[in-house]
Symmetry: C2
Subunit: 369 residues, 2 copies
C-alpha cells in the first residue's frame, strides 16, 4: 500500500561545501522526504537518488487533494519493495535543482539576489557530498542501501566509491560511468536550444524561457525512448487535426514532443536544467583516476547493476564496462541485462522485472549485518 500523506522537509546546513571545481558553496539547503522509521540500530536506512529532473517527492501525496503521487510511488510503502514497515527510506533533491535544494534559483546570500549563472558549476560528486550532510544529520552512519537510476545511478556509484564505508549495498540502474560523446552531443543540443531563446537572457530571466526549454526537453524525450517504443507508441500517424500537406501539420510524435516539452516548462527551471545537464556531461566515475578499476578499488559494498537492452542513451555496454572492472578486482557485483523496448525510461517502467531481484539483493545486505 501507499505511504499516504507525506510531509516535504527541508534543512539548511550552515556550512561551506568545497566543490569539485574548487569553488565554495554555502549555506546548503536540501529538500528531502523520509518514509518509515529509523530502527534503534540505525541500520535500516535506504537512500533513493533521483534522476535529472526529479525531486525529493519519491512516494505518497502531499495532501488529501494532491492528485500526483511521488515519482517512484509504486516501489515505496508497507509491503512494497522499499517496505516502510521495515526500512527508513530517504530521498533528497540534489543541489543544482529547482525543487527546494540550493541551486541557481536560490538567493545568493552574498548578494541577496538569485544566483542564476553566478551559481558554480556542480558535479554529481558535489551532489553526493551535500547528501552526506543530510545522511549524517539523520543519524545514519551506514546506509543499508543506496539506489537510483540514470543520474540517480551515478550518485549511487559516487556513494560506493567516495564513501565506501557508509553503504552496505548499492543498486545502480540505467547508468553509465561516463556519458559518451553522443550523450554529450544531445545535452549540448539541449543547452543550445535554451541559449537560442532570446527570453533566456543569459540566465537573467523573469519568466522561464519557454520555447527554448520546451525544445530542450523535447530532445530529451527522444533520448529517453527508443526506436522501438516510439514506433509502437506513435508509428507514422499524422495528427488528425492537420492536413498531411499542411506546412505546419504535425505527426503524432511531433505533437507528443511539443506537448511534453511545454508541460515541462511549468515544472522545471531553465538554469537548473542547464546546470544539471552540465553535471551529467562532466560525470566521470574515474575522475582523476587512470581507470575504472582504480576508481572502484575502495569499494567494499556489493553492487547490483541493471541495464536495459533498448537504452541507447546509456547503453548496456557502458554498464558492462563497470561490471567487468569490478569482477577483475574480485569485488562482489551482480549484473542483470533486462530485455525491454522502453529505452532509457525502462528503469521507471520495468518495475515488475527488476523488483524481485532488488528485493533479494537488499535482503542479502540485511543478512550480512
Amino acid at each position: 500500500m501507499s505511504v499516504g500523506i507525506v510531509e516535504p522537509k527541508s534543512i539548511t546546513f550552515d556550512t561551506e561545501l568545497r566543490l569539485q571545481s574548487g569553488r565554495i558553496l554555502g549555506p546548503i539547503t536540501l529538500a528531502y522526504e523520509t518514509y518509515g522509521s529509523l530502527n534503534a540500530e540505525r541500520s535500516n536506512a535506504i537512500l533513493v537518488e533521483h534522476a535529472w529532473t526529479g525531486d525529493a517527492h519519491l512516494a505518497g501525496r502531499h495532501s488529501e487533494t494532491d492528485s500526483r503521487s511521488g515519482w517512484w510511488n509504486a516501489l515505496v510503502g508497507p509491503g512494497r519493495l522499499l517496505d516502510t514497515d521495515r526500512y527508513f527510506v530517504i530521498c533528497s533533491n540534489v543541489i543544482g535543482s529547482c525543487h527546494g535544494s540550493t541551486g541557481p534559483t536560490s538567493l545568493n546570500p552574498r548578494t541577496g539576489k538569485r544566483y542564476n549563472l553566478s551559481f558554480p558549476v556542480i558535479t554529481v560528486r558535489d551532489m553526493v557530498a551535500a547528501q552526506k550532510l543530510l545522511v549524517d544529520h539523520l543519524g545514519v552512519r551506514k546506509l543499508l542501501s543506496v539506489m537510483g537510476g540514470s543520474m540517480g545511478g551515478m550518485q549511487a556509484l559516487e556513494w560506493a566509491t567516495q564513501y565506501p564505508d557508509c553503504i552496505a549495498s548499492a543498486i545502480v540502474l540505467a547508468a553509465t560511468p561516463r556519458p559518451s560523446a553522443q550523450a554529450i552531443a544531445f545535452s549540448s543540443i539541449a543547452r543550445w536550444a535554451i541559449f537560442n531563446d532570446p527570453t533566456w537572457r543569459k540566465g537573467e530571466y523573469h519568466k522561464n524561457p519557454k520555447d527554448g526549454l520546451a525544445l530542450a526537453r523535447g530532445i530529451g524525450h527522444i533520448c529517453f525512448l527508443s526506436d522501438e517504443s516510439m514506433s509502437a507508441k506513435f508509428g507514422r500517424r499524422f495528427s488528425a487535426r492537420d492536413g498531411l500537406f499542411d506546412f505546419f501539420g504535425q505527426f503524432e510524435v511531433e505533437r507528443y514532443l511539443n506537448y511534453n516539452g511545454f508541460n515541462f516548462v511549468d515544472r522545471f527551471d531553465a538554469n537548473s536544467f542547464l546546470y544539471l545537464a552540465k553535471a551529467l556531461d562532466l560525470y566521470d566515475l574515474a575522475w582523476d583516476c587512470e581507470s575504472l578499476e582504480e576508481a572502484f578499488t575502495p569499494v567494499t559494498a556489493p553492487l547490483q547493476f541493471f541495464a536495459f537492452t533498448s537504452d541507447w542513451l546509456y547503453p548496456p555496454y557502458q554498464t558492462e564496462e563497470m561490471v567487468a572492472a569490478l569482477e577483475k578486482l574480485g569485488k562482489p557485483v551482480e549484473y542483470h541485462l533486462i530485455t525491454s523496448s522502453y529505452g532509457h525510461d525502462s528503469f521507471l517502467l520495468e518495475l515488475e522485472t527488476f523488483t524481485p531481484m532488488v528485493r533479494e539483493f537488499i535482503r542479502q545486505a540485511e543478512e550480512r549485518q
Copy 2:
C-alpha cells in the same frame, strides 16, 4: 581521374506539375550537371540522386580556381566507378532545394515575390516527377541505372516503382521505405529549432535565420554519425580553450556541432531545409498501397541495396523489409549489409567497400541490354 571543369546547367520547363498534394507547381526550373556523353543507342545514362542538403554538383570543379569538388567526386570520372568514358552521368538538384531548382527561395511567377511558405509541400515522388522531365529532355528513354543514398535512395526507389520501364537497374544506399517515428522526431526537433528563431519570421526573412538553422543542422549531425564514430572522433575531450568548470565551456563534440551548424548557414536556406525535412518525413514508398509488396509489384529492374550496420537513422532492418518484400515477389534483388562505424554517413565514406559491388551490378545491367 577527375572529370575536370564542369559547367552547371539549368533548364526551365514551362509546364505545370500536379503534385502529390493536388497542388500545382510551375514553371519548373532544374539545376543539373552532366558528365560524359550519351551514346548513339542512348543506353548509357546513369542518374545520380543527391541527399537532403545536396546539390547537382556531383563531380569536378566549376572553374580552375574552384577549391571544392563535387560531393561524390571520387566516384565519377574516366576509369572511376561511374566511368565518364563509358557512361553519361546526370545529377539534378531536387525541387524544394535552394541550389538552383524551383523551391521556396524561387520567385513565385504569380506574385513576383519569393515563394517562402506559399511554396507547396512537396514529396520525394514530386522530386522524381520533375526529374523525369529532365531525363526526357535529355533524350533518355531508359536509364541504365539510377543511384543514390539516403534521400537519394528514396528517389531511386521512386524511379523503380513509379517509372519501372524507364530504368534498367537501381542502386539504393542507406535508405528507408519510410522514416521511423524516431527519425521523424529528430526532424521535428530540427523544424522546431528554426520555428523558435525569431529572425525566421514564419519564413519571411531577409537573412537566413542563423541560430535556428545552425541548431537544426547540429541535430542532423548527431543522426548522421554513430555512438561509435563520435566516441572515436571526439571521445570526452574538452575544448582546450575552456575550463572544465566554465558554464559556457564546451566539449569538443559540442564545438564540432556548433562549428558545422554555423557553416551550414552559409550554404543552405532555412525554408528549403524545412520543406525537404517535411518531404523526408512524409516519404512512404507504400503510399496509397496496402503493403511494401504491393508498392514493389510494378518493379522490373534489378535492385541493389546497401545498408550500414551503424546507421541508426535508417537502420538496416528497414532496408531488409524492402529486400524481403522483393524476394517474396520473386523480383531480382541484391542486398549487402556493410559493417561500418560511420553511421548514416557511411554511404558517403565507405566508397571503397561498396564500389566493386556497384561496378559489377551496373556491368550486369549493361550486359542485359
